[in-house]
């Protein structure tokens, strides 16, 4: 496929890639550090370019519910926000997950809790990967580490969302969203017509025609026996996702004696740390989860049979380290190092932490 080369911000790349993926509707509310997503889309006049709808909602609560409506009609819909706004969306996300509808949600994470800071953070790991709202559900969570991946994950996100009828979260952060890099973009994909949607997604609420029963989009089932079946069906779907959709990258892991695990911005710092450590003769590798949910459990478990210790490097107070420990299951020491509140850890302090907590520990 012919790809176009551009220099873009991460927030612009995810927007452009979404338009090119045939997105039907964007609904959002401004919040730093992701406002460029809607600004870019509106400047592109998508209604002329592809017929895509874009609307600035009155709140994140409204925008996620606009997604809920659009997704019910079988449309490719997306929103973007940053941490406090994503918190407001949790009710709607839970309904969308419960009603089994596809949509794409971009979270350009900033530091919290509360209003926190507008600087980059990874403190929404728990919120993204463990559900976030009420009830037992999961979001497929993609963690881009470059502007290129911001674009690629928009395309992949829509694909996975429709494959599993499940919301997909791109968990980026202020650094990935704001930085400019070279990006290769896919060609424009045609938006589906209503007839194509009707054929491909027979559950969509396009109007009850005489040839079929009415379609009902709901997450409500008052009969406990039936509600349990719905939950079991959801859990079965999540097991499928865990089996089929794990993505991760391994850097210098073949001969590694020690391992760093990091995603997104902190994984970029850790690439430098691997180099620095190897210059000193320390055989260090890096495992970068690309899907945070499903988590690369098998990859971590395999590497735990090879290395002497693992350091989880995160821009939060230690969230992913819990999933690593579950995967390692006590075989080897697993420690955490991180900075939070909007601070990106330096390569020097990560290497120092590795020496203190793992190698010397």
């Amino acid at each position: 496929m012919k790809r176009e080369l551009r220099l873009m911000k991460g927030n612009e790349a995810v927007a452009e890639a979404a338009i090119r993926a045939g997105c039907d509707g964007y609904f959002g509310y401004p919040i730093t550090p992701q406002s460029e997503v809607m600004e870019y889309i509106t400047a592109e006049k998508p209604e002329e370019r592809t017929g895509m709808v874009v609307l600035q909602a009155e709140s994140e609560v409204a925008s996620i519910n606009m997604l809920y409506g659009g997704a019910g009609a079988g449309k490719k819909v997306m929103t973007s926000s940053s941490s406090p706004g994503i918190s407001l969306m949790q009710e709607g996300i839970s309904y969308i997950a419960g009603a089994e509808l596809p949509c794409l949600i971009v979270n350009v994470v900033r530091g919290g809790p509360g209003l926190g800071t507008i600087q980059p953070s990874q403190a929404d790991y728990f919120q993204s990967t463990k559900g976030g709202g009420h009830g037992d559900y999961k979001l497929i969570t993609l963690a881009p580490a470059s502007v290129q991946e911001m674009a690629d994950h928009a395309t992949l996100g829509f694909k996975l969302a429709f494959k599993y009828r499940n919301p997909v979260m791109i968990q980026s952060d202020g650094a990935i969203g704001q930085m400019m890099e070279k990006v290769e973009l896919d060609e424009q994909e045609e938006r589906l017509t209503d007839d194509q949607i009707k054929e491909q997604y027979p559950w969509a609420t396009l109007g009850k025609t005489p040839d079929r029963e009415r379609n009902i989009i709901t997450s409500l089932e008052l009969d406990p026996a039936k509600q349990e079946q719905i939950n079991l069906k959801l859990q079965k779907k999540y097991r499928e996702i865990e089996k089929n959709e794990v993505l991760s990258e391994e850097i210098e892991c073949d001969d590694a004696e020690y391992l760093l695990v990091a995603f997104g911005t902190s994984s970029r710092i850790c690439q430098k740390v691997v180099k620095m450590a190897r210059d000193e003769g320390i055989k260090l590798g890096l495992l970068r989860p690309i899907t945070l949910y499903p988590f690369p459990v098998k990859e971590v478990a395999r590497l735990a049979g090879q290395v002497k210790g693992i350091l989880s490097v995160e821009m939060n107070a230690g969230q992913m380290v819990e999933d690593i420990r579950l995967a390692v299951n006590g075989k080897i020491p697993v420690e955490y190092f991180g900075r939070f509140g909007g601070i990106i850890p330096s390569s020097t302090e990560v290497l120092e932490a590795l020496k203190q907590k793992i190698i010397g520990g």
Binding site: Y68, R214, L220
Partner: protein, 260 residues
Amino acid sequence: MAEQLTKEDIRKEANIVYKKTEVLTDNVLHYCPGCGHGTIHRIIAEVIEEMDIQSETIGIAPVGCSVLAYNYFDLDMHEAAHGRAPAVATGIKRLLPNKYVFTYQGDGDLAAIGTAETIHACNRGENITIIFVNNGIYGMTGGQMAPTTLEGMKSSTTPYGRNIKQMGNPLKMTELVAQLPGTYFVTRQAVHTPAYVRKAKKAIKKAIQYQEREKGLSFVEVVSNCNSGWKMTPVQANKWMEENMFPFYPLGDIKVPEDK
């Protein structure tokens, strides 16, 4: 002696003077006997049948007594979170601009938790129809105070009557949205007598037909009863509604299209 008509005779096509619209399913309504919801459902469904738009209509159910409205309309239906129906409707209508989209909401849903979604959908002039059923109480959760509960009116959370100083004022949402430039047709109706049912049906028909004009949102409030929540018989409840609700929530058109 006159020949007695058998049931079979009565059911003959030629003898039928009234039948249930096919836009309603055969599911048994869960609403309390005497409640207005059943009638309001019926007239909406009749309008959709008369307009022949069953295949082009998407309805949005709220949270509240009518949370299961999707069981009764033989339409594609979308059940929204509490108060979010106008946002869900916005998403659908923006992406399916040629379809008819309506929300069906109670007073707690529309005028308390969903105030922001309601006002902004109205103000943007979304080409949808909002049916707002106001019975001044939270029926489903067991009779708590609603934003539209009248002063002095008893509910399970205002057991000594609504005290304005403590609980604030009842909200006239319909008058409020009529002020917004995005609303095209705003009216307040009732369904407690056959004459009012006919009027309300006419209003709902206009409110749905106006979507074709693309001039903005149509808003139909139906002042209704809640005999269970009000702890009255259906007859008493209708009388109480006429004597107490109608003076505060007067019936009639509040905003009509200038370009009739």
